[in-house]
Symmetry: C3
Subunit: 258 residues, 3 copies
């Protein structure tokens, strides 16, 4: 646990409505010392896989003991279990729907028992405010997660998109476009044998080899490079690869080892 | 006053411009210990009633002593009074235009005297930065609000939208659609006698009874439920009620007691 | 240095992706006490001049010792120098591409030596996370900026848009439209001799004199006033000057002294 407890938030709530602010108010009421960092609130509505991938790629950049609170929760109010997990030196709080797939199996897992969070009203539609934020705040106060509920197992898991290999060919897919129109794929460069030239095909265009950085691209020409999470990325220097190629999440990207 | 003072921000400034960041800089310069939480900055431009409703619904989720700074202020620079209020164990700082209607009459109210905030320049167009942020920061430092100006009364008030009742019929209206397309109405469920079946009519569709949570709806079928602020809400599971029904703020919703 | 170190962020990363959150995580891991304030993340992609203007207009509203971290960085990964500057009692961390033009020449300037930031991986595409955030955090911890790299000079500079004068005529341009449709120009009112009546021409409309505040305008009629950063601004009370006039960044605004 760091000296100042750190809570991150990952939701599909957006920032136009007061949902995120209210969750922070609840945390501040229980654990006034905790710092809260927004990872993203623009997960596409109810896209659990998107949130799972954001957490998978980014949790390790936060200090040990960080509490990752994630609420993309189409099953709110139903029987899906509310979870607290300890894994990889950090904590994870959210619904049992696969959002923490990259961190399974955890070192510890409990189903949160609302009664352990004190005498709080529990709405049927906003467990981010009424259940997950209080649980994260209790961890921030130093509570052992085993105090927050009952040990649990057999957690829900989802398959995160991942490139497949057939001999010298990797079949990858675009999994996200960022604000610059850079296309992130599901191919981790760690799976590609080093030292062999690559040819990348996307939307009928052929890209030879990996560029070291964005500015190396000729204007309008797509390049491939390794992005900051270790994934293959397609970019256009001073432009948008998404627009130039008419590509987006789901677009196939073929990578040949020569 | 909590050990760490808490300031919330509610504005129509958006986040693309640096206005909100600058307000936080001014607060940090005066009250470095204060924590600032964004409630929302996406109030539709100059829509005081929208901001008033957001505060009415959400202030109580913040701890006692929280300072709610709200700036939706079409009259900035004119004669409208700048206010500090104490009400319901919290503080409210902003223009006298009805934005704090849900908290009237307050326990204490002062018109802020800019001269009490120290030798600061006062622009005619950005009192959020030059007047309200410094006043909120002074309260965060522990100043009594009576020190910030002169006692005042006869505060501006606006009527918040509220369903009306005619016998067994409630005439409600949609007051906001959230990011998921859920339609929040102006009917507080506390006004509806418990134990009687409800029939809800909206845009020619009929909904029988209240669902307990979102996931109970059949795909594409509108359901009604009680949302997290105690209001009647129309939703479509795994979809958008706003799109499915072609509804939005202002749409009539009729609720019959059977 | 304030008792609680303050870091501001100005980027073109947007808030939909987790880039900004990850930078905050890195800062929290190194300097847990530091407070981070978002100035804006909606700089148009790769628009260094826009970010330079935002910093020029707003840095002075933050307390002495504030660390301004700015990442609009089309040259990331290339040979462009990563900088830490001390100027005007504050610190500036970011790429050497003119983004800090308003603060040149600085009192001190170093090219950040990544090796001085400890054993950290350095990606080629996200120096905001791997290099600038750690450097800012080290300054927040109290490190002397001279410890972070080697002294440097001949910093890149860009010309910020600025109205020109020809006798009694100022030729100005709109440099930004805010969320309300107010049009900010590149004419600082401090350059205009006081006491002489002004006539402003924009998109074929003529505006006589300066209004004191927004609410003075007749509905639909453009007015001119001095905005909160001391610039001439064109507004429409209860409306959008950008829409009413069909104007935006680049639109010419002529100001005559009568």
């Amino acid at each position: 646990m760091p000296s100042i407890p750190l809570v991150t938030l990952t939701t599909d709530f957006g920032l136009a409505d007061p949902f995120v602010g209210v969750m922070k108010g609840v945390i501040a009421g229980i654990a006034p010392e905790a710092r809260v960092i927004d990872l993203t609130h623009d997960v596409p509505p109810q896209d659990v896989a998107h949130a799972a991938r954001v957490l998978a790629d980014n949790a390790a950049f936060f200090p040990p003991g960080t509490i990752h609170l994630a609420v993309v929760d189409p099953g709110v109010g139903s029987g899906r279990r509310p979870l607290c997990l300890a894994a990889k030196g950090q904590f994870f709080v959210g619904p049992d729907n696969g959002i923490f797939s990259a961190f399974l199996p955890p070192d510890q897992a409990v189903t949160i028992a609302p009664g352990r969070l004190g005498p709080r009203p529990l709405s049927r539609t906003f467990h981010g405010r009424d259940l997950f934020a209080p649980a994260a705040a209790r961890i921030a106060l130093g509570d052992d997660i085993m105090e927050l509920g009952e040990p649990t197992a057999d957690l829900a898991s989802i398959e995160l998109s991942r490139a497949t290999r057939e001999g010298d060919l990797f079949r990858a897919r675009v999994i996200a476009a960022d604000r610059f129109g850079n296309l992130m794929t599901d191919l981790s460069i760690s799976e590609v044998p080093p030292g062999r030239p690559l040819v990348i095909r996307v939307r009928g265009r052929e890209i030879l080899g990996l560029a070291e950085y964005y500015a190396l691209g000729a204007p309008g020409e797509p390049i491939a490079l390794v992005n900051s999470t270790g994934r293959l990325e397609i970019a256009v220097a001073h432009g948008s690869a998404a627009e130039t190629l008419g590509a987006g999440p789901g677009t196939e990207v073929l990578v040949y080892l020569k």
